[in-house]
Structure formats: C-alpha cells, structure tokens
Amino acid sequence: MFPPAGLPLPGELLLITDELPSPADFLLHKLLADHLKHVRGSGTQTRCLVLATVADPARWKHIAAKSNVNLDQHVASQRLMFIDVLGRVQSGETLRPLYDIVQAELGKAAAEDEGRTLVILDDLSPLEWVGYTTLELARFSRALSAASRKANAALVIRHHTVTPGDPDDLLRHLLQLAAYHVDVRPLASGRSGAVSGEIALHAGACSTPTHQVKAIPRSSALQYRLTDAGATFFDKGTSAGVL
C-alpha cells in the first residue's frame, strides 16, 4: 500500500520529514529492504549507500533480518555501504569530504554499469543542530542531489520537523529540490496503541508530470501501525482499534 510503485524515482530526491513521536525509521528500513530484494527497480545488481549521523549498523541489520534480508551478505559483497557522517566530517566546517566519498561511490557504480543505486541520508537535521550553517547544508544537499541525478541514483533524505506548522529554512530548500515529499506525523489526538501515525505524500517542486505517482493529501492521510517486522498501512478510520 505504501510506498506507491516506483517511489524512490531514479535520479530524483525523495524527502521524508518526521516528528519525534512518529519517527520515520520504518520507511527507511522498508525502502532499503525493498531495494535489496529488487522489489523496486528492475536491475539485477543493486547498490545502496547509507549515510547516517548515528552510526548504528547493528540496528539496521537487526531490523532488516526481520524482513528476511541479510545485510552482512550485502556488505560483504560491497553492494551496501554504511558511512558514518559524523566521523567523516568531524574536523572542519565543511561537508565536502562527505560529498567526495559519495561522489566517488556513485561514480564507481555508474562505471560498472550496474543496476540502480539508492542513497539514503538518515538525518540531515542533527548536522544543522551541531552547528553547520543552513547555507552549507543547502549547498551540500543540492550537490548531493545533482550527483545522484547524474548517476541516475535515487536519493532519500530524512529531515526532522521540530516545530510543526512552522517550516524552517532548510526544509524550504529541500522542498525545492525534492520530487516527492513524504510527511510522517503523529496523530493529533496523542499516542495510541492501535495507530502509530499518519502519512501524506505531496509532490515537490521538482516533480515532473510524467511520473504519475498519486499524491496522498493530508485530509485523507494514510495511517500506519508499527509492528515488529515493519508497518501495516490502512486508510483512516479502518484500523483494528476503530472497528
């Protein structure tokens, strides 16, 4: 039911925003597992880059194991790479070293003429909170999306919304770059045992009319419930807790 078919579009940026009570981890894990299982994209060889500000490969592995994906195998065959963002840019004001690594990896993938590549940037916002300027981050994300577009790789960036209803400058920049924007929110009525949150899908500034991915407006947002293995999606008002 979600994400719609073909959603991390090759060469485009998919922006995911979430809030503290409803983290979008489950979407990132689902995108990664689907990509490695060749559910999305037809290529036989797939590559995946995960850039994470909290370097926690163990968690990725444990959660992927729940959906029958053995990440160790993919790491060993060099089709999956975890990059510790904070370790790479530790000393310095610029994110250039990180960009260089990603670009080199994308170039390698393009040279080998492999199938599709997926780049996941897990959390852009902590970089802003630890002191990188909005300008630097906007430049970095622009360069990253340009590089992935060149290599025809799908790019997924996650950004945290800390002031709901009041988008920050970085989010405005990202919306200009994104083809689609997935907005994950908690329920307005507070935490519930039956419904974990709701998802809306908006078209971004860079979406082209040829893509034909149906947007999900906020008014009829899709609801989800987290389980051990992932999430189950259902339409508003049809959860087990309601019926």
Partner: protein, 453 residues
C-alpha cells in the same frame, strides 16, 4: 527416526553483570535505573548502548539529579562500573541513597511501602465492600518493586540512607568507580576533551574486562557553569557524539541531566526539547509542580508530571516499552497520563488519575476523620447522658433517645433532653461545642452506615 532436528541455539554471549535480556528483543541487554517504575516506563530498563536524558525544567527542585543518583547507586550496588562526569564528584556521591542496612533491617518488604501506606492498606481491609466488587484486585497506580529472585537487577533503595564511606573507598580503589573531570579550557569545542577522555576509558575497559561488566556513564549536570560557555550547538554535539560513542561500545550506557534553565524551549529556542529528544535514545521530562501553586493544589498527592519524548529501541522498530510497559498502558488503548512523587524513602512514577467524587483531596484509604469524630462525639454523648441518670431512665426514652441523632441536630436535642429530664442539668457544654467543630465538604460523611445494606 524423526527428520525434525532441534535447532541448536547459537552460542550466546553471557549476560553482563546486573543486566538481563530485554523482553522485547533477545539480542539486547537492559539494566536498571534503580527506580522500578522508571524501568517499567523504559520497557524493563535502560538498554546497554543507549543514552537517557532526564529533563527537569523546574529550578526549585532537583528531581533530575535524584534520578542520576539512583542510577549511580544502582550501578555501584550491582557491581557495574560507574563513571561520573562532574566537578564535585565527592559531594555528589555523598548524597547518593543506599539500601537500608542489612543488620538493622534484615527483611525489607519487597513491595517496600512506607509505613503509613502499609497502615492504610490495613485500614482498607476493614472497609465493607459490596460483594460484586470484592473479587476485583486492588486499584494500582504503580508497579511493585521486583521480587526477591531478581533483587540484584534492581535494588530497593532508601532515600533516608546514604552510601557508606567504606563502600565508596573500596569502589574507588578497585576502579569500579571512576570520574572524569570537566575541563573547559584548551578545547577546540567545549566538551570535546570530556568525550575523548570517556572514549579512552571505554576503550581501556573493553580491552581489560570485555563485555562482562557494563559501564554506566553519569553526567549529572551537562552544560552547567563548570563546563564553560556551552551553547545549544555544543550540547547537541555532545549528545550526538555520546550516542555514537555508546554505539561503538555496546556494553556502556549513559544517563544525562541538564541544569534546569537549559531544559526548556525558552533557552534553546523553538523545538529545543524535540531536538534533544532526537539526539538521545530515551528522553523524559519531570515537570515538577513546585513553581505553580495551583497545580500543587490540584494534585496534592503528586510532585510533578512526567512527559515522555522518546524511548529506547536499540534493535527494533517498535520500542519494547510500547508493548511491555504497564504504566504507559499502550497495549490496551491510549497512553496513560504519568506523574511522579517523591516520598520519604523512595521516588515513584505513577499513573495520574483525577480524584473520586471531584474536588475532595484526600484519598479514602483511611476512614475519613469526620467519621471518627462522630464516633468520639457519640461516646461522649453517651457518657453525658448516662452518668447522672439511672439505667431505667435511659431505657424509658428521654435522654436515651437523643443518642442516635445526627450531627447537626445534637445541639437542639441536648437541651431538650435536659428539659425532659430535670435531673441532668449539668450536661457539659464542652461536648456540644466539639460536635459543632467538624464540617466536611463533598462526602456525606456524617453517615458512616451509608453503604451498610
């Protein structure tokens, strides 16, 4: 021969000291914070490799620090390594609580209630309960302390006891208790020297002891004056780096508090508390009532509200707390409101409920004071009525009939009794005054036999 084979379990790492396997994820270990009800909120305990942030934005109380002291005391009691990052470590340690002395109090009750609570439950037993409700279990607002078998996992601490000096000394000499000083000078970024010191300690520990002994890192006051000029970005950097550090050393866990004025959005700008919640694994706010007298009046039995921002989920999508926490109660329906209180001997996290009958502050765990006053009054009326008169006079009516009247009518009936029976002119006026004094709002408390069918 059966073709089924028992799947041999892979060799599992031994459980670290003072830890147990998380109920939600078999691959992660949890350890206690020292407060059983807080453990329940976290889903059994704080998982190793995770960091917990306790925010206490109220400047007049120190509940955040109290949680840190429990964390340290529990670490020392169960034999884990403890590393405190603070300036006045000795002062901090001297205020830590400890288990009640083994010699003086050999069998501490596992459900360690305060004496008054135990007495109250005794009184409860005397209340007559309608048969259909009698079978129901007692209404509970918190989780009980662990039973004896798992006592080592979470000790029962007593806030009136302090850590004995000799235990501190031996812990320091054996290296169980470490401290990292806060240096604010010659840092490229404030706090970075502390982080590198912690990294060194953890690396040494991993080499020497391996995963069998967990390390607890306690930062009681991150960003206070001793830390120098800490900005929002420095705090974010410290927390993010600490979280990465713990992921690299999965046998360690950390508990962090901020000084009160840094715990609110007013210091860090809009969304500050949310940011902090993203940068740690578990983040809770203890919002004490002390600053607001109206809240104190509204919830007289609690000391503050508990707000949960984020909860640890080290190896799963769903936090184990969502499934296993009794206090949060998410498994059945929506989330409960939580509050905390700090009694003479312990700190407790509880579910918050509005009072019965709306507006009466005291819980009916003891018979209401007006009911006992009535008994007392009734006996004195007995005495007044019967002392001078003979039993025959009482039996014939007259003064005897005045005994069973209700509280408000006593004043009028006693003079009547005096009139009808000329002998009893010396009825003491003092008892009449005593009867008038008691007045209660809310309950119809002058009828103790209301539920006596």
């Amino acid at each position: 021969m059966s073709s089924f084979k028992r799947r041999t379990t892979t060799k599992q790492a031994p459980t670290p000291v003072g830890a147990r396997i998380s109920p939600g994820a078999t691959s992660s270990f949890i350890t206690s914070t020292g407060i059983p009800s807080l453990d329940d909120i976290l889903g059994g305990g704080l998982p190793l490799s995770c960091s917990m942030l306790t925010l206490a934005p109220d400047a007049h109380s120190a509940y955040g620090e109290l949680v840190q002291k429990y964390f340290v005391a529990q670490g020392l009691a169960c034999g884990q390594k403890v590393c405190i990052v603070d300036e006045g470590v000795d002062g901090f340690l001297s205020e830590c609580m400890w288990t009640p002395g083994a010699a003086s109090n050999p069998v501490p009750a596992p459900a360690a209630d305060d004496e008054d609570e135990a007495k109250a439950s005794g009184e409860d037993a005397k209340i007559k309960i309608a048969w259909r409700y009698e079978q129901m279990k007692q209404f509970q607002t918190t989780v009980p302390a662990q039973n004896q078998s798992s006592e080592d996992y979470c000790r029962v601490f007593d806030l009136t006891c302090r850590i004995p000096e000799d235990i501190l000394k031996s812990a320091k000499s054996s290296g169980q208790l470490m401290s990292a000083p806060v240096q604010s000078e010659e840092d490229s970024r404030p706090g970075s020297s502390v982080l590198s010191a912690l990294e060194k300690i953890l690396a040494e520990h991993d080499q020497r002891e391996g995963p069998s002994v967990p390390v607890r890192i306690c930062v009681p006051c991150l960003g206070s004056a001793e830390w120098g000029d800490f900005t929002q970005q420095d705090i974010c950097y410290f927390l993010l780096w600490m979280r990465n550090l713990l992921r690299r050393h999965p046998t360690a866990c950390a508990s962090i508090s901020l000084p009160p004025h840094l715990c609110a959005d007013s210091w860090g700008g809009p969304g500050w508390v949310q940011k902090l919640g993203w940068l740690v694994d578990a983040s809770i706010t203890l919002a004490a009532f002390t600053a607001d007298p109206s809240l104190t009046a509204m919830f007289p039995s609690h000391h503050g509200m508990v707000h949960i921002h984020s909860l640890p989920a080290p190896t799963t999508l769903l936090s184990p707390s969502d499934k296993f926490s009794t206090l949060r109660g998410l498994s059945s329906s929506g989330e409960n409101n939580l509050a905390f209180k700090c009694m003479r001997k312990r700190m407790v996290f509880e579910t918050l409920h509005l009072d019965l009958e709306g507006g009466v502050g005291d819980r009916r765990t003891t018979p209401s004071s007006s009911a006992s006053a009535l008994n007392e009054a009734a006996t004195s009326v007995h005495a007044a009525g019967l002392r001078p008169g003979d039993i025959a006079a009482a039996a014939s009516g007259g003064a005897g009939a005045a005994i069973v009247v209700e509280l408000e009518q006593v004043k009028t009936t006693v003079p009547q009794a005096g009139q009808s029976d000329k002998l009893e002119t010396e009825t003491p006026p003092a008892t009449v005054k005593k009867l008038k004094a008691k007045k209660k709002v809310g309950f119809v408390s002058d009828r103790p036999d209301l539920y006596d069918f």
